[in-house]
Amino acid sequence: MTLRRGGRPLLWLGLSVALVALAVAGIAIGTIALSPGAVWAALLGRGDATTITVVRDLRAPRVALAALVGAGLAMSGAALQGILRNPLAEPYLLGVSGGAAVGAVLAVVAGATSAGLVPLAAFAGAVLAVSVAMVVARAVGGRADPRLLLMAGVVVGAFANAAIMIVLANAPADTLRNATWWMMGSVAGAEWSGVRWLALYIAAGGLLLVARARDVDVLSLGEDSAAALGVRVEQSTRAVYLIAALVAAATVSAAGLVGFVGLMVPHLVRAAGVRSHRSLLAGSAIAGAGLVIGADLLARTLLPPAELPLGAVTALLGVPFFLARLRTLA
């Protein structure tokens, strides 16, 4: 919560080093064994065409996409936990994941291939779901009450899940496989063209969240206290909610559903002693990026040559995390 220049240089150093190490591992490790020298040469554009393409156009964009998805989801989770004053809040609770999944599944059923239409449909679905949740919360409560937002999001998500089940119940096997695979999350299709767009988006969203980080510090005290300290409670809550939801929606449209990151990472960063939301957002971005890069690395090296879905690996990582949390609560 400090507004002053913070301490903890070791933590930041550690996080940054870990991120860089994971990124390097992500580029250097893969099904094709490459020596570090070959990887370095390929990054510089020297060597045979295949190796260069593998390093620059296969692994590097993949690592970049994983980092962006992790950073976006973690920042979104940190901001939401602050304004909703709930340590169990995460972006997927707002209906973002359900809405995106409905959009993607409908696109798949309509015969779209993954390249262009599915991400757009997913994003549109997510935006629609978040808007519906906000309208529902407003209609029921009259104010942007955080609890109402949360519950409206859960309701929208439940509806979306039902819709997905209905759509997929009588779908042909191919559609079913495509939709299911999308919903389990993957960065396997990463290409620089898409990654560039997502980078702009996540950067913009992240900056907007950081600009409002102090408001979130105050909002996490409670609504009356926040009002007493000069925060426009409804406006601020709505703004942060929307930005966080849109950032999460962008990650979902790019990589499918990658769960637990938005929930786990802010907790871990807070457990390391970070309090102010400005630092929490930055720390979550770095830690989230590293986590998803690592998860993707596991996804492609655990059962070669097949790849595990990214969402499955992050869910697996979530299990020990929650067990540890249970122990601290008890």
């Binding site: 393409t53 593998v54 156009d57 296969l58 993954s114 396997a188 990463a190």
Partner: protein, 321 residues
Amino acid sequence: MRDLIAPSCVVAGTLLMERVPMFFSRLAFTLVIASSLTLVACASERTPVRKSSTVRVVDDFGDSVEIAPAARIASLSPTTTELLFAIGAGARVVGRTSYDEWPAEARRVPDLGPGIRPNVEAILAAKPDLVVLYAANDNRDAARALRAAGLRTIGLKVDRIADFKRATALLGAVAGDSAGAQAVVDSVQRTLDRVHAATADLHHPRVAWQLWDTPLLVLGSGSYQHELIEIAGAENVYADDTKPNTQTSLEDLIRRDPDVILTDSSRASAIRRSSRWRGVRAVREGHVLAVDDETSSRASVKLGMAAVTLARLLHPEASIR
């Protein structure tokens, strides 16, 4: 009645033997009784239970089923529907699945719903003599239900060319036209032999057949498509995987370094545009070939044409008919 004859003979013989004290008489008498019993037994076996010709086979569910000609057939898989029409038994088909759309005449057959987890009531309502299901595990419950309702049900799974031959023969028996079915099989086999001979001495390119993009699925060696590749004079780089298809990564594909990538037309253009796929030598050299979905989607009567198409695609310099 005939079940009583043998024991009666034994009882009668025993009673009679007690009255014949001398050994030789006893022996002779035993022989007479034994041979007459044998004659009776043999005679009863030669007499059939039913007048029609039936045969028992083991279907692809692993169940023993009786095969007899049927006038009303519910064919719940695109392959079997296509085969029935091909052998001229289209008129007997009283039900199909929503996906059975070839030949055009098949569309006039009533749609009974999905082929996986079919609607049992809809099938019963069509009053078939015989139901042909796709032998997936998901359909075991349906098969049980149909058989319990008294309907003869066969599960078929046509994965390989040998399966195609067997299925066609079986369907021919069911349609009461085994000769016609055999003719179809022979015609397809002749085409396959012709293609195999034409490509035998040509250079065999190494091929990877992409079946799906997300996740990346490629053809293994467990299906007819793999057999078609070999007949068409090429080598499947994923032949070591015995499944019909296998999930893999782009890096693994690059490592296996095929000469040619086969896929359907929309995916082919996506591959050519993609920057990731440029890691594959075949893509950089422009060897991405589109295989028409229609000819290669089933192991059926179009197998021959599929082999010809593939061979022409893979060996453009040779003229293959």
